[in-house]
Chain length 309, copies 2
Amino acid sequence: MAGQDEAREHEPWSAFRQALLNDGMLVATGVDGVYGRSSDYEAVAAAVDRLAVAAGGGQEVVSLRFPPVMPWEVFRANGYLESFPDQMGSIHTFRGDERGHAELVRRAESDEDRSDLLATTDLVLCPAVCHPLYPTQSGSLPEGGRLAEVTGWCFRHEPSRDPFRMQAFRQHDWVYLGSPEGAREHRDRWLTIGAEVLTSLGLPVEQVVANDPFFGRPGRMLAANQRMEELKYELVTPVFEEGRPTAISSSNCHLDHFGRPFAITTADGDVAHTSCFGFGIDRITLALMDRHGTDVLEWPAPIRSMLWP
Amino acid sequence: MAGQDEAREHEPWSAFRQALLNDGMLVATGVDGVYGRSSDYEAVAAAVDRLAVAAGGGQEVVSLRFPPVMPWEVFRANGYLESFPDQMGSIHTFRGDERGHAELVRRAESDEDRSDLLATTDLVLCPAVCHPLYPTQSGSLPEGGRLAEVTGWCFRHEPSRDPFRMQAFRQHDWVYLGSPEGAREHRDRWLTIGAEVLTSLGLPVEQVVANDPFFGRPGRMLAANQRMEELKYELVTPVFEEGRPTAISSSNCHLDHFGRPFAITTADGDVAHTSCFGFGIDRITLALMDRHGTDVLEWPAPIRSMLWP
């Protein structure tokens, strides 16, 4: 039945999705936007990730890895709850007794709502890979600020059958913490570096002003303001037959959005500004497959030798 | 204040935990059992993961990677909800309007219960790395069964300050799907291979019969049965000054527990049996640090050359 549904789809991404599934690059799990990945897919993703690291040129940086879950308290303090509640993955568990458990199992079997039997924990899924970093950087930064790189799994609750819109995906972020000028410079520098990396992989990119999908009416104003101040840029590449511009990397100037709640200060004692540039590891992997095909062995030699020198 | 709490701790793991945090191997996040990892820690974890792959000796296998979230339906169908409800990470999100959102933000700020404002999704955190594999293997297996390897993030809601008991951690599993005899042979073979890998890293291990922490009174019977039938073995290594036996790898014979709900059959048309052997990537990394210290450069040369040949 899923096959029939898919055959009926005539979205711009339908053929690409079908090729990824048919060729076993992605494996459907039954939930839109959540896939298993083949070893070929992962080999590309790992190679892209290595390029994302190498692009830093071996600078001394803070290098940290966080699990896919992070404290609710960080989520609340950094404003994500206010701006993107509909994208959250709040982690709940069962704290009841055997009787409650029997009722939970019964409801699961009859597909009745179970939410009131499950209690919140102090965790959420990490929505952006740099978020868990900031609370660990509280205190005074060195002169000139600090550079950090983080990578890991992100979650956004936005089910879609478009392979480019996954619910669970990986980012590799280069983050700066320091002065307002330093944050802008970092953003500009990494937009250039990122474009070079992507172009070297045969992915033409354009730099465009963008906004995040803020929630509700106040969110529309926040989004407009973000665009007006040019706080967010995306590197977009054309995908599918019609060349739909699709973001595969992005940069954000956060101003003091993270510095303030987590008490990060510059060497001069000012509230730190931060900015980040993120390589969208899964999106870049997908864009490569859209452009060069799902048979990695058939990719152009220059692309292969960039990925696997 | 956290520092004072920690100074007061006199648990067997207190000194080890403090060393990991002081030396920056792990970074506290404010939630017990959820840590950031340093690049040194990750270098060891990645090396252990490579050894877990290499231990397969280059056999033709199904190799898949799944994200940290998996379908609720898989969780329900494979019996985890019945057996381990208190360990689940059920993923909820906000589906309300702006008014509900304002109330959610208010409750978050005043630290009131928010669970009734959040709705279930069709996802849970993956509790064991092999679970998302089985539903993708529905249908008839080849003669002799099938071998698969999977790795990724697992979640179990069991907050603890013992570093060996993380809520979010990585496993690397070798899975067999096929006949009952094949499943036992796989288990036995991999207990031997696993012990060799761990011993080569300077970790003495002992093979012990074990059980999973099944929930409630019926769970006690399930656990007793699991031990009696010797379905679960752990490879334990002594850690801390007192040499507490700590599982760093384990194997499970699942009988037809996964074959039945996911309609996996042998070439002969019988319901498939499955078994798995899992390297506990984070636990092995921690055991190495407990035994050889937190300064990776000072580890014995033979251990270093095993990890980084």
